[in-house]
Symmetry: C2
Subunit: 290 residues, 2 copies
DNA sequence: CATGATGTCTGACTTTAGTCAGATATCATG
DNA sequence: CATGATATCTGACTAAAGTCAGACATCATG
């Protein structure tokens, strides 16, 4: 009753019945589940028919019929794609948007109801984040994005908050050599955000300099996503980007209060070098030749 | 992207697709899912046809047909219930047990595969326990059981380990007034274990004494089950049992290092009294008249 | 022991999901 | 502009799940 496998299986059972209940709550709107799923995919912004088919794993014949039934119902309208007349794009009509809103309200109410039942909300949410990240790990996408985008700013905020918790003297960005956004945009550098579904769960910046090297900055992985080797994936992606940009030498600084970071660098070809800047926070400095 | 409801919904999406994959892994054995589910329910010890139907939420007609198809296949045999000739009981044949074992192996392999993919196993398992307990909270059952049963011993072990972590001087059972098992058996007392599915997640003992009162001992709730008001349920069940046993006065001791326990007692009609024993660990003493 | 309730079974359906082989239109390419 | 690839659609199926009314045997009860 206590071994890890039974615990996973207990979780599976609990979640299977919860998911069943969730699915059947969608049946209350007089539409089969398949059609409801297509409607919701469109509502969530997937307009390309092929993309929806792919996302939901449907046969093209089935997809075509589901789309037709939604059109007959008056909740969806389709048109041909502007760039490619073979493809079709679907969008919701006014009634379709109303139906979608009803499904959204249902989902939100279900989620709120679940949360309302439990004390220790934060613990529960953290557990959910962890599991969701674990389950969708192979679907984590690394996207280059602007260092001032919403996702990037979210990651950086979390990163600073975590440094504040882990450095005994706290962390104040304004005292640190905070990299300029323009140094983390191509062609000088880049900024990569790891997204799991719609949640940013990690980031890293490549900051161009005028000293013949580029610096790795702001490597962060969300607590809920640790153990998935995401740090390594982010570093690999950054090195690839650096090579693309013709950068031959990378440097970074870090702090011994973040042992997992030092560990990562040491096992991926970085070598320790003497201090190369006067930032007050770091106490460890590394270099890697590409 | 960050609010609690979105986090729950992200979890739901992640888990929905995982459950789908799990279900379809059961299709590899040439049997539709419905039939496989019935076979597995029987394998897990549910023999009464009505009980299976209820557990799986099936229509009686459908259930009857599924059972018939399993019989035709030679994996199940049915007979009439010994006490009631209207009811049927189903059991696996030899080949049925072999098929069941194959499904079990599949489930175990799936669970092991999931665990093998992840570092931070313990964190992941703890998150799964927490969520499973939250989802099945209304299905937690409180069972009176022998204080030396496997489940009881598991709970007590966890309880002692937790005291060891929370008391700054640690905890050594042999120094404490460890209650005798025979004082926690009817008619002198009782011992109640809270089970979620097959996992013990809490316990409490009622220890009979010869001094005109009984004592509450070993109240424990698994970390994964906190926030579900399980402590209160356990205490209520114990008080009910005490009333049944004709006990009019209850006492207990606890420690101020366990503030949630003190809080629970104070809000449920217990009043603080002077020390009534010489156990070195407790520093708070309560009494409640039934 | 008559009566209504209960548990199972059967027949006759419907709905949903899914498959597969073309048909048709359009696109990218040389 | 011929050719093969791609995206969607249609027709013709099958399988699985589920529903419903009634049949039948058995049980609990007064």
């Amino acid at each position: 009753m206590l071994n890890p496998v039974s615990r996973v299986r207990r979780f599976n059972r609990a979640v299977t019945s919860a998911v069943g209940a969730l699915d059947s709550s969608f049946l209350g709107r007089g539409r089969p589940l398949g059609a409801a799923r297509v409607l919701n995919a469109i509502g969530h912004g997937r307009s390309d028919v092929a993309e929806i088919r792919d996302y939901l794993g449907l046969d093209s014949g089935l997809m075509s019929r589901l789309l037709r039934s939604l059109e007959d119902e008056g909740v969806v309208e389709t048109s041909t794609h502007a760039d490619d007349a073979r493809r079709r794009v679907a969008k919701l009509t006014r009634t379709g948007r109303r139906e979608f809103a009803a499904y959204e309200a249902l989902s939100n109410a279900q989620a709120e109801g679940f949360l309302a039942q439990h004390a220790q909300r934060e613990a529960l949410l953290a557990a959910m984040d962890l599991i969701a990240s674990a389950l969708t790990r192979e679907r984590v996408s690394l996207n280059e994005s602007d260092p001032q985008s919403e996702q990037a700013r979210y990651c950086l905020g979390e990163y600073y908050a975590e440094l504040g918790r882990r450095f005994k003297q706290g962390f104040d960005v304004s005292l640190s050599r905070d990299p300029d956004a323009k140094d983390m945009r191509r062609p000088r550098g880049t900024f990569i955000v790891a997204m799991s579904d719609t949640l940013p769960i990690g980031c890293v910046g490549l900051k161009g300099t005028d000293h013949g090297y580029a610096e790795i900055k702001r490597l962060w992985v969300a607590p809920a996503a640790r153990g998935l080797r995401l740090g390594r994936r982010l570093m690999d992606a950054t090195e690839d980007a650096a090579r693309e940009l013709g950068i031959a030498l990378l440097r970074l600084d870090t702090n011994s209060a973040l042992p997992e970071a030092g560990q990562l660098y040491r096992t991926t070809g970085w070598r320790e070098i003497p201090r190369f800047n006067d930032d007050p926070y770091p106490d460890l400095f590394f270099e890697k030749r590409l």
